[in-house]
């Protein structure tokens, strides 16, 4: 297994910069997710690591060794795609063993390796089945098996669960992470689905417009997003953004929010008056009759344990996650209180987080 390091990696297609100066290290045995909307450069980065695309500048290091210009086949990395193509005329065992057969490995050894791989994936009972008879999840397991059987140094996965429906996808996430815990292979996983990244990764890199906006653990990125883009991309429903204008002084524990004064985590930087954004996660909002921020209930969505209540306020539409035991009437006037120690502040123009006691060392990419 191996450490993967990317240094100042860049890729331009004519005028268009697909990836701009990327830097990150994936430690040996770690599960690293690259998360972002389509066109953010995550797949291009992955393809450069795999050797399917040559960078415009920068380096890719595998276990400290520069492999930037080495052929894909000579990198000892396995690539798992979203649209897995299995050989329809071969059974499961032959599909998994195929890469070894191509290497000219002896049949006995291939059989042992295939059996071991199938055991890890818990698909031993399927080895003699036809692939055309398999369910979507089992096909994905076979595709993984074909990647694992070579015992590569690292796995690169490009939205491997993208074709599955939402509930099954989350189940497969648990399975993939369990598998990772058993074989401990360095993995880079590309997805646009925040739930997949949060559920599986040790570290997430959130990408936007060819740049990494933030790198951190799932909880870190959720609790201390470095930018409005990250805050909006992670979490469902996403963070609420309430615009206001104010200056900021270091050491203050409140801001003047329009005609109100709101408690916030201690501010750690000076700001001349200008447009700011208050960031509030839906679960940090409670209804309170005495709260100064008021609004009218627009809709309530029952989700079993909790409900998402949407409230129209003078500052915009706000989503709150509340216990489903609370009875809410559409059109009702309510007061909203925020959990002050969890609030975020952003610069409205740049979108980047303002340093506070809570967001002190938010890692800017």
């Amino acid at each position: 297994m191996a450490e993967i390091r990317v240094e100042n990696l860049r890729k331009s297609f004519d005028q268009f910069a697909a990836v701009e100066r990327s830097n990150f290290t994936v430690p040996d045995g770690s599960f690293f997710a690259m998360l972002g909307p389509s066109g953010c450069g995550k797949t291009t980065t992955l393809r450069m690591i795999a050797g399917l695309e040559l960078p415009t500048a920068g380096q890719v290091l595998l276990d400290g060794e520069d492999v930037t210009f080495r052929r894909a086949a000579a990198r000892d990395i396995a690539f798992v795609f979203q649209l897995f193509a299995l050989y329809p005329h071969m059974n499961v065992a032959a599909n998994i063993g195929f890469p070894l057969k191509c290497q000219g490995m002896r049949r006995q050894e291939i059989r042992e390796r295939v059996a071991e791989t199938a055991r890890l994936l818990r698909i031993e009972h399927l080895l003699s089945s036809k692939v055309s008879k398999l369910s979507g999840g089992d096909r994905q397991r076979v595709a993984l098996g074909r990647a694992m059987v070579r015992r590569p140094k690292a796995f690169l996965m490009d939205e491997p669960l993208g074709a599955l429906d939402a509930e099954f996808r989350h189940l497969m996430c648990s399975e993939l992470r369990d598998l990772h815990d058993r074989i401990n292979a360095t993995t880079i996983y590309v997805t646009h689905d925040q739930l997949e990244a949060m559920s599986m990764a040790d570290t997430i890199a959130v990408m936007n417009g060819g740049r990494i906006e933030q790198i951190g653990s799932p909880q870190e990125i959720y609790d201390r997003p470095a930018s409005m883009f990250v805050a909006d991309f992670i979490g469902s429903p996403p963070m609420n953004f309430l615009k206001f204008e104010s200056g900021l002084r270091a050491g203050e524990r409140s801001v003047s929010f329009r005609d109100l004064t709101l408690a916030v985590p201690e501010v750690r930087e000076e700001r001349a008056p200008g447009p700011l954004v208050l960031g509030v996660r839906p679960e940090h909002i409670r209804f309170s009759n005495s709260a100064p921020v008021r609004g009218r209930v627009f809709g309530a969505e029952y989700l079993g344990t909790t409900q998402i209540v949407t409230v129209d306020t003078a500052y915009g539409r706000v989503a709150a996650r509340l216990p489903s035991s609370l009875s809410v009437q559409i059109g009702e006037s309510v007061g909203l209180s925020f959990r002050s120690e969890r609030l975020a502040l952003f610069d409205a123009a740049s979108g980047s987080a303002i340093r506070t006691a809570n967001f002190g060392d938010a890692g800017h990419g």
Binding site: R177, F298, Y302
Partner: protein, 341 residues
């Protein structure tokens, strides 16, 4: 608007029983969602109501009138499909006006204008009426498709997974919009989906359907809190309900015949070991931001519970389990009512 009644409807395609003895009464102004996996019979049910299919048995009443053998055109129904098929050569306005300009209806132009404008306002697309239909975002196109159904005033709107081709954010937005429009219009809607979140958040009542059979019909809260069987219990709730064989929880007094316990994730509470006999081991902690999903192993069974994101818990740790409000199921998966405590 009117109420729609399905009486003992059955439909077979060759050896497949697509719909079996289905009874469903949708009241005027109600939003009923049929929830089920693919091939459960959801779409067939919609097609039977429209008249695109004929039932083998049973009858269909719309507004008190039997329509079982009427052709589709006279049934007074509007249908919204998963794939919005707008007329690409027409503007948004003309797309919305199209159903009203049908020679069968002969609606005068000033009235058409009024209806189209009202509908566009409701859907927040008033500014786009002059746009060609092709120059819209996916969400706008789907709103036009819904709008094309809304300009008419049919007895019932039938919707077949209208949001499933949209991305997650847009889907969440349109869920709220559709519910608002339904309330403002007082529209009667029968909506089919395999997405439990859509069913939970929009429905007045959910019908859980499987293998052509309606298993339970009730409000989202009834279905979630009071499922009729273990399948319905497992179909709703994310993460899904936990099941434990009754023999593994000996100290709880169980109703006679209980084979399986169902415990919602929020009802599995964990704490430090303190002499209790239900001890599980933390297998994995999933950090999802607003909460953690803790995967636990208990006597070879995996359970999932919810925990505060900042609660310190590590894989391998032993914790005591407390099972609150368990649901009891018999060997066939049927619900057994809890005895008085």
């Amino acid at each position: 608007m009117a109420d729609v009644i399905l009486r003992n409807i059955s439909k077979r395609f060759g050896s497949v029983e697509a719909v079996r003895d289905l009874c469903l009464a949708i009241s005027d102004g109600e939003f009923v969602v049929l929830l089920g996996p693919s091939a459960a019979g959801k779409t067939t049910t919609l097609r039977l109501i429209t008249g695109l299919e004929q039932p083998d048995a049973g009858s269909i009443l719309i507004g008190g009138r039997e329509v079982t053998h009427d052709p589709p055109g006279v049934r007074d129904i509007a249908f919204v499909f998963q794939q919005y098929s707008l007329y690409p050569h027409l503007t948004v306005y003309d797309n919305l006006a199209f159903p009203l300009r049908s020679p069968a209806r002969r609606v005068p132009e000033p009235l058409i204008k009024k209806r189209v404008e009202q509908t566009a306002e409701l859907l927040h697309i008033s500014g786009k009426l002059k746009n060609p239909a092709t120059r819209l975002s996916g969400g706008e196109m789907q709103r036009v498709a819904i709008g094309r159904a809304l300009v008419r005033d049919p007895a019932i709107y039938l919707m077949d997974e209208p949001l499933s081709s949209l991305d997650a954010k847009l889907r969440a937005e349109l869920r709220l919009e559709l519910k608002r429009i339904q309330l403002e219009f007082g529209a009667t809607i029968l909506y089919v989906t395999h997405d439990q979140v859509e069913a939970m958040t929009m429905a007045s009542r959910i019908g859980v359907i499987r293998d052509g059979r309606l298993l339970q019909l009730g409000s989202p809260r009834e279905i979630y809190e009071n499922p009729a069987d273990s399948y319905v219990a497992s179909r709703i709730g994310a993460p899904p309900i936990n099941f434990l064989p009754a023999r593994l929880v000996p100290e709880v007094a169980l109703p006679v015949g209980t084979e399986m316990l169902g415990i919602r994730t929020e009802h599995v509470q964990i704490g430090r070991r303190n002499g209790g006999r239900l001890v599980g081991r933390v297998h994995r902690v999933e950090h999802l931001g607003e909460q953690n999903h803790v995967h636990l192993e208990y006597k070879g069974n995996m359970l999932v519970t919810l925990a505060d994101p900042h609660q310190p818990l590590d894989a391998g740790e032993d914790v005591e389990l407390h099972l609150l409000h368990p649901l009891y199921f018999d060997a066939a998966g049927r619900r057994i009512p809890a005895t008085m405590r």
